[in-house]
Amino acid sequence: MTPPPTRTIHVELLTRVEGEGALELRIEAGKVTAAELRIFEPPRFFEALLRGRAYTEAPDITARICGICPIAYQMGAVHAMEHALGIGVTGPLRALRRLLYCGEWIESHALHVVMLHAPDFLGYPDAIRMARDHTDLVTRGLELKRTGNEIIRVLGGREIHPINVRVGGFYRIPSPSELQPLAERLRRAREQAIGMLEWVSTLAFPQFERDYEFVALRHPDEYPMNEGRIVSSGGIDVAIAEYETQFEERQVARSTALQSVIKGRGSYLVGPLARFSLNFDRLPLDVQALARETGLGPVCRNPFKSILVRTIEIVYACGEALRLIEGYEMPERASIEAPLRAGVGQGCTEAPRGICHHRYEIDASGTILGARIVPPTSQNQLTIEEDLRDLAAQNLHLDDDALRARCEQVIRNHDPCISCSAHFLKLRVHRG
């Protein structure tokens, strides 16, 4: 039966995403007239409650924005504070931060690939039911996730809201022998990730590409994590401190999330697709080769293939973590001095879901006077709505249930982290 030309499709509570959002699609006279991702996650006012706190508290407090990517917030906070204080962390301490971030990429990506995203491709409601038919796959994914978590536990003290990150470095640093068991694990994990990549590359990907403006960090010689310039496929190339010259946030009535746009242009995409497409040449040659074997070129514009790109990034992060451990020499001190001064500092790092920007103003005693945090999902919100609109327009022949499922998948493609973005979105579909 042909669906009616006018209908509304709602998803009242998006599942297998982090936080609370909904989707609403309105189709009138055979045309998509509205596609909205609504965020009803209640606001928690982090930028307000940071005012009056000590600069040293920012990494612990901002970690609580997100239980899935706390390290992204800790890294953004410490880099911004160090920028304000005019110091920079180098050498082994810098390497340990990168190692810690590898742990979060592996843990967060493995969670998304196996537990949140893969069930869409295979038609299961969740990974637990998927595990009954695909035991090996789910077991392997969980083991990868555990490896990522293990890095975070060893370096950070615990998996969720780790306690060891501070402005200037760490509270305590590990000896090389403490890191050795991780190296053993990572060698195995990298092989498992390559196995998972082979499996992911056999999935059926819908033909769907969009002309995104990709935005990511770019570093002179590394695949980006904590440092670099902010670049885009549309020609942006600025220092992290110039973020606000290029991007602005605006508020929409339907959402507790602010939406980010490129000034004078509009939507853009951050996250694995952007990072990969802007930094393919920064991946080691063997990882590039693995990507090509799965059919990926240096640029990927199909959001359904983000599962492939995430898996590539898991392979990369396992290898990178291994390289960092093998080259590690324990420094004399766990942190560097940070003499106080008043100032403004900015930090921007590559969270698993894309760039996350922090800006703080502190006074001469180190008290925070103002804070502004732009999480990846609020930057992707407008793009997700455009994906929904375009995909729905191509799939109007589907009945409501099939269309709803496809729309949910479109949202999951971008691994939105809705708790983060409130200051962030909810999706209902109207067909009227």
């Binding site: 606001p43 407090i61 537990m115 508020q251």
Partner: protein, 255 residues
């Protein structure tokens, strides 16, 4: 029939429900012992109640939350709160001590769109709660213990002592005695395994107050170590700021 588990979210970071997914090794056996009837972060399959055990994450911050927690309570045989938000209001309870309008205006240009309550309150302020598991985030071993205890109908075996005992057990030298570092361990509920002291840092109280916490004596000792009033005020006012013993202690040290 397998007992039915539901996982609910209010204002929170999702970290405590993620602790359940972080039970990577135990997850399959858990899934065998109970039916995961409602857990939207992990599954698209959502079944109607009643539920045998509801785990509730997050604090109450909107008018709709108040209705929702009442409905959840009616449909749940047992209701357990997980984490500092659900148990004490969380970091977002800092708004309880501020002017909400100023808070909203600091984040949103058009505050009229934002619907929120002036306070962030724990679940127990609204409905009866069968058990409260503390921590920001909760400890996953304690989570498994609580789930198992409710499955078989016994009291959870969760120690009520302070973090100090965990340091002694692990053989971690006291950071306050050996390094002169201020530490909330003596007044903080056990459960983390004394992670911060084992990383040479003072406990910052993320598991919330233990029973009969002597915050006054600890504050005196911290003062001797050089802590200022402002520092003492801040240190009690974080992830469990609205928990009574910590609220009182922070107020004793002014703004």
């Amino acid at each position: 029939m397998a007992p039915r588990l539901a996982v609910w979210k209010f204002a929170s970071c999702d970290g405590c429900q993620l602790s359940l997914l972080d039970c990577e090794s135990e997850l399959t056996s858990l899934a065998g012992a109970l039916e995961i009837a409602y857990f939207p972060e992990a599954s698209s399959s959502m079944t109607e109640g009643p539920y045998d055990l509801s785990l509730v994450e997050g604090s109450v911050t909107t008018p709709r939350d108040i209705e929702r927690i009442g409905e959840i309570r009616r449909r749940s045989r047992h209701l357990v709160t997980i984490g500092a938000c659900a148990t004490a209001g969380g970091i977002q309870a800092l708004r309880n001590f501020a002017h909400l309008e100023a808070f909203v205006a600091a984040v949103y240009a058009s505050p009229q769109y934002i619907e929120t309550l002036a306070t962030s309150t724990p679940i127990s302020a609204h409905v009866p709660v069968d058990y409260e598991l503390q921590g920001c985030p909760i400890d996953k071993v304690q989570l498994i213990e609580v789930i198992c205890a409710f499955l078989v109908g016994r009291k959870p075996a969760i120690a009520a002592h302070s973090v100090c005992i965990e340091c002694k057990r692990r053989g971690v030298p006291c950071v306050m005695v050996t390094r002169g570092t201020a530490c909330l361990g003596p007044v903080t509920h056990a459960g983390c395994g004394a992670i911060c002291p084992s990383f040479q840092r003072g406990c910052y109280g993320c598991f919330g107050p233990m029973e009969t916490a002597n915050t006054r004596s600890l504050a005196r000792r911290c003062r001797d170590l050089g802590a200022t009033s402002q520092e003492l005020h801040r240190v009690f006012r974080t992830f469990n700021a609205a928990a009574e013993p910590f609220r009182e202690a922070s107020e004793e040290h002014g703004e």
